[in-house]
């Protein structure tokens, strides 16, 4: 008779009880794994956004919509554009505390015959840029020539293909690493390329609401503050002293996101904790009821010479035989629900969402298995410990 025969036989003889135990552990594993992945993905998204921005302060035209547009572009990948005079860049650079200031120029392509897809086009100045270039450098070592573009991970165009923007065929030379933010849906190119595309758009009759020469406009200025200066004060100085410019501290821009993330993470943690406690309580109860119903069986085994340790091992084996498949199923269902539907979850939450790296996911899965099987084992052992103290002689004589 094999060592696992008795536990296996017991589980097999009580299919309903076995199913309930496995289902409980499955719920436990699912809630822990998917809750952890969800929280980590949201955190990852926010960190990725903050890292990718690299700027302490961002200055945009002081129109009512520009700040909101920028935030939506960065977080949700909506398209938009707004412009201000290029001379604002010089004024910003002259502001006390500004270490580096790099302009960006935005354009949105259309869902129309002139364009292959609607995307946000972001032009950056390779001379001064400190946000986009390091990102591009991760996947492309050259400079972007006229009309060449690098695309975010969610743009449906591969390297070597061409994107049609206002009747210009732009070759894709790089595909950027995902950030889990709106930046993944944008197309990046030089300022020269955007100006070329701006001209093309205007010549096709699109009103981009540019006052003056497109050569003299920019959309936003990304600012790095010198050591010893307070970014908040620099932003306030820019907003106060430069006409029609609003500067915002990057961290402030993401405060709302961070708050939402904390709110969601808090809810998820509470839910997971509640599921855990409930499942653990039910597990303990089920094991106590189960072992109580099997008092005589355990007494027979004790009387036959099974030591308390052997008895505990047998109960543990029984618990492992049903909790391990349950935990594996829970993690599997969690993975099957979360990973294929990343984009849907991101759009439903409206927050940056970036799955953790595979190594971390595997670690999380392993930790979840350990925790779930551990909880079940704990419940089983507590019941077995109570039972192993029962006097087998009395139990069997009682005939109860």
């Amino acid at each position: 008779m094999k060592k696992l025969f008795l536990p296996w036989r017991s589980l097999h003889h009580h299919p309903a009880r076995t199913f309930i135990l496995a289902l409980l552990v499955c719920c436990l594993a699912f809630s822990v794994f998917s809750g952890s992945v969800l929280i980590l993905s949201l955190r990852n998204g926010l960190y990725s956004l903050e890292n990718r921005m690299g700027a302490d302060v961002i200055a945009v035209p002081s129109t009512a919509k520009s700040k909101t547009n920028l935030e939506q572009m960065l977080l949700q990948g909506t398209t938009g554009y707004f412009y201000m005079d290029r001379e604002k860049l010089d004024q910003i650079q002259a502001t006390s505390g500004v270490l580096t200031a790099s302009p960006q120029l935005f354009l949105a392509s259309l869902r129309a015959s002139c364009c292959s897809l609607p995307v946000q086009v972001i032009g950056f100045d390779p001379e001064t840029d400190f946000t986009v270039r390091p990102w591009i450098a991760e996947s492309y070592s050259g400079d972007l020539a006229l009309l060449e573009v690098a695309v975010g991970s969610k743009v449906s165009a591969g390297v070597g293909e061409k994107i049609r923007i206002y009747e210009n065929n732009c070759p894709v030379v790089a595909r950027l690493a995902p950030t889990g933010t709106g930046l993944d849906t944008a197309v990046y190119c030089s300022m020269e390329t955007v100006r070329h595309l701006l001209d093309a758009a205007r010549s096709l009759g699109h009103d981009l609401k540019i006052n003056g020469d497109p050569e003299d406009v920019i959309s936003a200025v990304y600012i790095r503050v010198a050591d010893g200066y307070d970014p908040e004060k620099v932003a306030a100085d820019i907003s106060l002293h430069i006409r029609k410019v609003d500067a915002v501290q990057t961290k402030r821009m993401f405060t709302g996101v961070s708050d939402s993330l904390s709110g969601i993470a808090g809810t998820v943690v509470w839910l997971v904790a509640a599921v855990w406690l409930l499942a653990l309580a039910i597990l303990i109860l089920v094991f106590i009821l189960m072992t109580r119903a099997r008092r005589r069986e355990f007494a027979v085994l004790r009387l036959a010479g099974m030591s308390r340790t052997m008895l505990r091992r047998m109960v543990l084996a029984e618990s492992l035989l049903c909790s391990l498949p349950g935990a594996l199923a829970g993690v599997g269902i969690g993975a099957a629900v979360l990973f294929p539907f990343n984009a849907l979850i991101e759009s439903m939450l409206g927050l940056p969402y970036l799955s953790p790296p595979a190594g971390l996911v595997i670690l999380l899965a392993a930790a979840t298995l350990l925790l779930s099987v551990g909880a079940s084992s704990l419940a089983a052992m507590s019941a077995a410990a109570r039972l192993s103290r029962v006097d087998p002689g009395t139990t069997l004589r009682e005939g109860a």
Partner: protein, 233 residues
């Protein structure tokens, strides 16, 4: 040769200030291969005696030697090892595991006992070789008790401890079970110790021990025990 020796064994249960002496300075010597019956009224100390010998309890005073080894000072795990190797139990209630078939109920001791015997052989010995794949609920009371005897014997113990083994059986089936137990002593050399209220069973024993108030009242050897068939049931 004495297989079991009780030397001045006492067992006292204390509950607060109340003290109950379940065994009181018991001295006993039991020989191998004998069919021994322990008689006495309820509360006389029969079960305590059986518990001591079965390694389910330890004396508060005295020494119990089994095969020359002192079991009165063994730890819980050592007592479990002793039970696995040296003693088998048969109770009035058959105590079979309902989720296991007949053969599985017997074979489970293979996971526990160090020198188990063939489960099939033991079931053949008790006349149940045709029922091995049935579950306990499908058997009669007598058949279930025979399975429990086969299970106790499958451990290959030196001593078989039986607490009212025929108590739940009709007389015809009881005779069958007793005949089986007697043959275990006569043919297999096992020491069979039966605790019972039934005076008739004592007539077929090699030795009859009478217990009263925790003391051995008498311990008499019977030179010519009756055969099972000769006993008036």
């Amino acid at each position: 040769m004495a297989i079991v020796e009780f030397r001045d064994v006492s067992r006292v249960y204390r509950n607060g200030e109340h003290e109950q002496r379940a065994l009181d300075h018991v001295n006993l010597s039991l020989e191998e291969g004998q069919f021994i019956v322990v008689l006495g009224p309820s509360g006389a100390g029969k079960s305590t005696l059986l518990n001591m010998l079965g390694g389910l309890d330890s004396p508060t005073e005295g020494t119990i030697l089994v095969n020359g080894k002192d079991i009165s000072t063994l730890s819980a795990d050592e007592l479990a090892e002793y039970r696995a190797a040296s003693v088998g139990f048969v109770f009035q209630s058959y105590n079979l595991i309902p989720t296991l078939t007949v053969i599985e109920n017997v074979a489970l001791v293979k996971e526990i006992a160090p020198n188990p015997l063939s489960s099939h052989d033991m079931l053949r010995a008790v006349g149940l070789e045709d029922h091995i794949h049935q579950f306990p609920a499908e058997l009669s009371g007598g058949e279930q008790q025979r399975v429990s005897i086969a299970r106790a014997l499958a451990k290959n113990p030196h001593i078989l401890l039986c607490d009212e083994p025929t108590g739940a059986l009709d007389s015809e089936t009881g005779v069958l079970v007793l005949r089986l137990l007697l043959s275990m002593a006569r043919d297999m050399g096992k020491t069979i110790i039966i605790v019972t209220h039934n005076q008739n069973i004592a007539r077929m024993a090699d030795m009859v021990i009478r217990v009263k108030s925790g003391r051995i009242q008498s311990c008499e050897k019977q030179e010519h025990p009756l055969a099972v068939e000769e006993v008036d049931w």
